[in-house]
Symmetry: C2
Subunit: 344 residues, 2 copies
């Protein structure tokens, strides 16, 4: 990067903004007329020619209407708030933002994002800020599926829980379908002919823990293979957990392992390599989450089930805006799709 | 989650908001007086007792002033925009948001975040939206360090580039110090007594490619070890690249490898395991980035150099607000600190 002086035709300080008066002058109309055109005032009678001149002047001058003033005039704001506990510290939940943002933009809304680290004071501050900016509503999201006690201030606006739910169902919620995800993972292994299928589950109590187990069990029973509790072990839900659990799993003479998540699968890969077991020839492995930086780049690339972060964010916005009908008394479930690579 | 009906004392629809009139009534003052107190109007003369009554009423009633109206009165907005190419699809650059947000909040600003996927039309739309909301300024950030041609609309406000820079230095920029990072990685290996140190660099031309190499070379020469170009190989900057490059590196009888990033190091670990080489006893390894979900959980945990995403976001806000002095004609460098684990 070579230091240079700014070019003459490109001022280094911001240009002075074009105001409504400039547009009115260029179009040969009054400021009030420009205001009516900008705010789509249905009660104002403005001729087609004048309307056209105003539009052309806006385009030529690069006039930007003040969205905040428009909000005060119309009484409705173009903001949707997203309060998240840990977008920044979680490596893949950022897709929640992307899904919510894309859906919000589609309907003319802008996303106000606050990452609170789960800190109560920061949450309170974030929600207060959003309410002061007259948001249309607030999405309250967590990076892993769990029950929450929603902050009381959420009652002051429309709110939807994303990736979490409240025990008393006082707020609409949208969460991943853990049971279907567990079935999907198990189906991938059954389809490949496996019958002795272990499950390394997390030791952390959560909807993911109970839901994925339920799906695994349900499908094994339905397929006539039967459920053997000896083939289910619990471990911490990271690489270290998967490595350590391998020992307990492999003594049961299994040909396939469903892992609670991709990190557990990564630890299992290391343990298999230490025992000269080849994936998938000696041992088939299915993960969960589709944490791409790991799953797509293991040797061999991992077949897994994706957490639908993007869809959760988008579904949250659709519920908030009333585009999707709410499901009474229960959370809306979003499907966890299979991602087939080379480990089965 | 059991479906339940809402409790009687908790209405399921939002409460009707407290307005300024309610505060005025409770405090026994005029609406104008409440407005002056809320907007800190220095020209208004209000007695200490009345001011106290208003403050107490605001607190008791839970009144939330309208931040948008305040913006129109004071002429300055409380927003800072952050346009990012890929927060959501990159597993760790989200820390840029966190750093920018924390620093913005500290100074009374709120972050408007837009993730554009690097798409030009989405960038234009995001910047237009931010300008319409009268942002104090815009941070334009990229998830990896590179030269950019800033969108023309950035000239309409104050702007700072974060994690990128423009060739003509027309905008202030803050970027990671790649050269110092390369020195730091090499120093970790020299300090442990290594002299035959290979470098698996990325094959992708970038400031990271040239900067980290420059730091590696500079330090080897300064330490009297000398620079041997045969020990530098290029590879794709992912696990597959590291695995493949291992062959070319290990034939040179090296005792240590500096990897362009943690993903490359993960691939090198797999290749070392295939050759029954133990890390760090047979081969010391240093990564770069500190992509924690990988680096902290490899076997053994990886010693690396961190990309200072959080600090980049915070430094960007400080430059934008004029809290830090700009460096004329060149980008501000943020240090990449060592993260010592068990691979050296």
């Amino acid at each position: 990067m070579t230091p240079t002086t700014p070019r003459d035709d490109e001022p280094s300080s911001p240009r002075s903004p074009v105001v409504m008066r400039d547009v009115a002058k260029a179009a040969g109309v009054s400021v009030a007329t420009v205001s009516h055109v900008v705010n789509d005032n249905p009660r104002a009678r403005i001729g087609q020619a004048a309307r056209e001149r105003v539009r052309r002047a806006i385009e030529e001058l690069g006039y930007r209407p003040n969205a905040l003033a428009k909000t005060l005039v119309t009484g409705s704001s173009s903001f949707i708030g997203l309060v998240a506990d840990a977008i920044a510290t979680t490596p893949f939940a950022g897709q929640i933002i992307q899904g919510a943002q894309d859906e919000a933009w589609k309907h003319g809304y802008v996303l106000l994002v606050a990452n609170t680290g789960g800190n109560e004071a920061a949450e309170e501050q974030a929600i207060a800020m959003m309410l002061e900016h007259k948001v249309r509503g607030i999405l309250y999201s967590t990076w892993f599926h769990r029950a929450v006690t929603p902050p009381a201030a959420l009652a002051e606006t429309d709110a939807v829980l994303v990736g979490c739910y409240s025990e008393d169902s006082s707020l609409q919620a949208v969460v991943p379908d853990e049971v279907q995800g567990g079935r999907t993972a198990t189906q991938l292994l059954l389809d490949a002919g496996h019958r002795r299928i272990a499950f390394i589950n997390t030791s952390h109590p959560s909807p993911a823990q109970t839901g994925r187990l339920e799906g695994y069990r349900e499908l094994l029973e339905r397929a006539g293979v039967g459920y053997d509790p000896a083939l289910v072990v619990e471990a911490t839900s990271d690489q270290e957990g998967g490595y350590e659990a391998a020992m307990r799993v492999l003594e049961h003479d299994v040909t396939a392992v469903f892992c609670h998540n991709d990190r557990v699968a990564m630890g299992l890969y290391d343990a298999a390599r230490d025992r000269s077991l080849r994936v998938p020839d000696d041992l088939a492995v299915v993960g969960f989450d589709d944490q791409e930086v790991i799953s797509a780049h293991l040797r061999p690339p991992l077949t897994t089930v994706a957490l639908p972060h993007y869809d959760l964010g988008a579904a949250g916005v659709r519920l908030l805006l009333g585009i999707d009908e709410p499901t009474a008394g229960t959370a809306r479930l979003v499907a966890c799709p299979p991602v087939v690579r080379s480990s089965v």
